[in-house]
Symmetry: C2
Subunit: 104 residues, 2 copies
Amino acid sequence: MARQLPQPHRDDIDLVTVLQALADPVRLELIRTIAREGDPRPCSVDCYDVDVKAATLSHHWRVLREAGVTTTTVDGRRRWVTLRTDDLHTRFPGLLDAVTADPA
Amino acid sequence: MARQLPQPHRDDIDLVTVLQALADPVRLELIRTIAREGDPRPCSVDCYDVDVKAATLSHHWRVLREAGVTTTTVDGRRRWVTLRTDDLHTRFPGLLDAVTADPA
C-alpha cells in the first residue's frame, strides 16, 4: 500500500528553506522537469537530465521533500514525486511559476 | 561623483545564483525592506531590522550585488542600494514579487 514520506505541514513551509532547496542546479532541474512533464513522476535517476548518482539524487529528493517543495510516495519498491503546487501557491504565490518558467 | 560598484549584466544574471543570494534570512529581510520602503536606500546597518555587524552586512550586500539582485552606488563616503527590479522582472518574471510579498 502506498504511503507518504514525512513532510512539513503547509503552514510550516518556510520561504528561506524553500529558496535554499531550489538554489541548486540539480534540484532546480528536477523541479522544472516535474513542472514540465506533470506528476507524479518516478524518482529514478534515468528519468532526469542530471549527471548524479542514485544516492546523490536521493539526497536531493529528501532536501526538496523536507523543505515542503515535493511529496514523495512510496509504493512497494517504487517512489513517486509530486510537486506541492497548491501548497506553494497558497504560501508563496508565483514563486513556483517564476522558478520553473524558461528564463528570458 | 557617484559611481556604481561592479555587477553582472542583465543577460548574465543566473537563476541559481539569485536563489542562493535570496536564500538567507538576513538578505531576504534586506530585500523586503527595500521593496517595501522604496529605493535607493542607504546601506548602513541601522537602517534595517537585522542583528548583524556592519562587516557582515557589507558581505550580504556584496552577495546580493554580485548575484545581480541589487545595484550599489558609492557617493563619497555613502553607499546606496537599489533593487534591480526591471532586470529581475525581465529575466525571471514574478520572482521578486513572490519573495518580497508577505507570506500567507
